[in-house]
């Protein structure tokens, strides 16, 4: 599941955005339609959740779904005037499936808002439907940069995009890790190369010397990359890609005598990274992610309470994007609390919302992006990946 996790994550980013927009769109329609319908029947609003719930990448989507469910159940348990009905849509991460589900959610279920879609790809295809239906969406996990540039009015996300990740990594690497030379490696795939290139650009602007190389994700011998690293002698090696490749690369770097820092992105935020690198060689490896996984409440006490509640309910630790799922649901809950039950009203409310979430302040920019683009840094310790802190504050020795 963890291994799938990385792939899932990537998809999730895409999907997440879509689902959110779809949900929002759906809810708008529902509200806009007949008040006596389920969506707007006065004392109940339907909020959808769309993402890959049973497919190969569901490991990335079930945590945010559970986070959202927890938020809504906690809200309903307070016996509010208007309850929220939580309805899930299993897109399996497939854009075409997401499209038809979104249409159904808008027309039949009259959702007032959508959490998701989880991945960026499905977000791309569901977005226009929700725009037309005027239903707001909030994605917990779609991180593709272009989603914010579409001009969608009903689309939001509660996770920083890949551009923010590269900026956050650049800050961390230059200020906290005090790197002067950074070596970027990618797996030459869309996600990995995009991230590595963006980080290279960002650290260069801050005055670091850089070099880059790419590895074959199907190969095993990365010694030519190790030689390049050893010649360049960087302070940090950043790998853009998924954990299985990251593991092989990091192992060979350490065995090849590289002593500097090793870092990777959200695609490697899984314990599979430690298994693939070898526990000893993996120690101290840094991971950046727009997601917050904070069971100990290092960032704020609410995170600990959330993690405890989550564990009590689902009997599992908070995982990737579960916090974001909770926060996305919170955005809708705040709207309903404020007496907004129609999609358009909810969307208006989301434009001005300023509520503290578990992970971050829930406040959106005009294009639907989260106002604060926080990136969090994780560091391998033993066989776990605990949170080190926000990329602007995290300290590394």
């Amino acid at each position: 599941m963890e291994r799938l996790g990385t792939l899932r994550r990537n998809k999730m980013r895409i999907t997440g955005a879509v689902a959110v927009s779809a949900a929002l769109a759906l809810s708008a329609v529902a509200c806009g339609g007949d008040d006596s319908d389920s969506g707007g029947n006065g004392n109940e609003v339907t909020i959808g959740f769309m993402g890959d719930l049973t497919g190969t990448d569901s490991g990335l989507v079930i945590p945010p779904k559970q986070g959202a469910l927890l938020a809504i159940e906690q809200y309903n348990a307070t016996n509010p005037k208007v309850k929220i009905k939580f309805k899930t849509y299993d897109s399996q991460g497939k854009p075409e499936q997401a499209t038809s589900l979104a249409l159904g959610a808008v027309k039949n279920d009259k959702i007032a808002g959508l959490i998701g879609p989880a991945f960026s790809g499905e977000s791309q295809s569901v977005g226009p439907i929700l725009e037309e239906a005027k239903i707001p969406s909030v994605s917990p996990s779609a991180t593709n940069i272009t989603l914010g540039d579409k001009g969608w009015k009903y689309w939001h996300r509660v996770v920083a995009d890949d551009a923010a990740q590269s900026a956050g990594v650049a800050n961390f690497v230059m200020n906290s890790a005090k790197a002067k030379k950074v070596f970027l490696v990618s797996d030459n795939q869309d996600y990995g190369k995009g991230l590595a290139d963006a980080i290279e650009k960002a650290v260069k602007e801050k005055g670091a010397q850089t070099q880059n190389d790419a590895v074959d994700d199907k190969g095993t011998d990365y010694s030519s990359t190790v030689n390049k690293v050893n010649q360049f002698k960087p302070d940090v090696v950043y790998f853009g890609g998924y954990y299985s490749v990251a593991g092989r690369l990091f192992k060979q770097l350490r065995e090849g005598g590289y002593k500097g820092k090793m870092m990777s992105g959200d695609g490697s935020l899984a314990t599979g990274l430690i298994e693939g690198t070898g526990q000893q060689n993996a120690q101290g490896t840094l991971i950046s992610c727009g997601c917050l996984i904070d069971p100990e409440g290092k960032t704020n006490p609410k995170a600990k309470k959330f993690a405890d509640d989550y564990k009590a309910k689902f009997n599992s630790e908070v995982a990737i994007y579960s916090t974001e799922g909770f926060d996305a649901a919170t955005a809708f809950i705040e709207a309903v609390k404020a007496g907004k039950t129609k999609p358009e009203e909810i969307n208006e409310f989301l434009k001005t919302i300023a509520a503290p979430g578990v992970g971050k302040q829930i406040k959106f920019a005009d294009n639907g992006e989260l106002a604060t683009q926080d990136i969090f840094i994780y560091q391998v310790e033993g066989n776990k990946l605990p949170l080190l802190g926000n990329s602007n504050e995290a300290k590394v020795s």
Partner: protein, 321 residues
């Protein structure tokens, strides 16, 4: 670009030889079977894969952790024996089930090729779905196993200023060369080796001279399998992990090495393996790692343009291998 090449020349050379050694060992299996049967045994890469799992199983059963020095050599030898035996046995089983029935009925070479591809897929899926779970008790997908760091790697057991060789690469290189010398002696000096050479040269006359073809073919497969098993043990020493499709890319490279050196020619497999390994590393240092295969295969095409039979020529008997 050129600076990089010069600065990385020695590390690239060492890595190229270590990589080439594994290619060469694997290429031997392709080349010997081709020499005797004129068949490309596409399932050979999967015999290697079986070997990697046997090697990993051995290392894990020994329960060693961070061994170094001579103990490491001992572990590698033991691992190679087990992996060689398993892979050799696997190769024989493969020959008996997938090729011999076809040969007996005089099936076309194309049929044997399809049988090879089928066997390859069968072995992979068998490992992916059944064997890895059963043997390693893992439920993880793809038969991937966590890296346990069984070996203590030293970066500079040999240290001549710019030339630093790590212990694992040294063992890989020396081990592979020893195996190749042994094979060369076996084929050239023993009765069975003579049988292999005569079958390669002219199967019908060989039969008339009293050579048992079935036995020769079996021995050829077993020897190729043992070489693949040793290559697998060395691979595990280097990378400490494997999966059910590990043979795919390596198999293609090793087959390429065999063709580059001259398919059917044992010393050619050696030459081709090391040449390919070095080309990949030099290509990477010159143009960046994504270009390694581009450089290697461009050279392959150039070599075949001017020497269609490969560096050392095609046949098993010509090079007296």
């Amino acid at each position: 670009m050129l600076d990089d090449f010069i600065n990385q020349f020695w590390p690239s050379t060492i890595d190229g030889l270590a990589l080439g050694a594994i290619y060469a060992l694997l290429a031997l299996g392709y080349t010997m079977v081709y020499g005797v049967l004129r068949l490309i045994n596409f399932a050979h890469a999967d015999i290697f894969m079986v070997g990697t799992f046997a090697a990993l199983w051995t290392v894990r059963s020994l329960g060693v952790s961070a061994v170094g020095g001579f103990a490491l050599v001992g572990v590698v030898v033991l691992t190679a024996v087990v992996a060689g035996a398993v892979a050799g046995g696997g190769a024989m089983l493969l020959e008996v089930t997938a090729y011999r029935p076809l040969r007996k009925r005089g099936a076309s070479r194309l049929a044997a090729l399809i049988s090879a591809i089928g066997a390859s897929i069968f072995i992979q899926q068998l490992f992916a779905t059944v064997v890895v779970h059963r043997v390693f008790g893992t439920s993880k997908e793809g038969g991937k196993l966590p890296v346990d760091e069984h070996f203590k790697k030293l970066t500079d057991v040999v240290d001549f200023g710019p030339i630093q060789i790590s212990n694992d690469k040294l063992i890989v290189f020396v081990g592979a060369v020893l195996m190749m010398i042994a094979l060369d002696q076996f084929v050239n000096r023993t009765k069975l080796g003579r049988g292999i050479r005569s079958t390669a040269q002219d199967p019908e006359t060989a039969v008339l001279m009293g050579v048992n073809i079935d036995r020769v073919v079996s021995v050829t497969f077993v020897v190729g399998g043992v070489m693949a098993g040793v290559a697998a043990a060395l691979y595990i020493l280097r990378f400490e992990q494997t999966n059910y499709f590990v043979g795919f890319l390596l198999g293609i490279k090793a087959f390429t090495a065999a063709v580059l050196g001259g398919i059917g020619n044992i010393r050619g497999a050696l030459a081709g393996g090391f040449t390919l390994g070095l080309l990949e590393m030099y290509g990477s240092s010159l143009f960046g790692s994504p270009w390694r295969d581009v450089v290697a295969f461009t050279v392959l095409i150039l070599v075949l343009m001017f020497r269609p039979t490969g560096i050392l020529g095609e046949s098993l008997q010509q090079a007296r291998a």
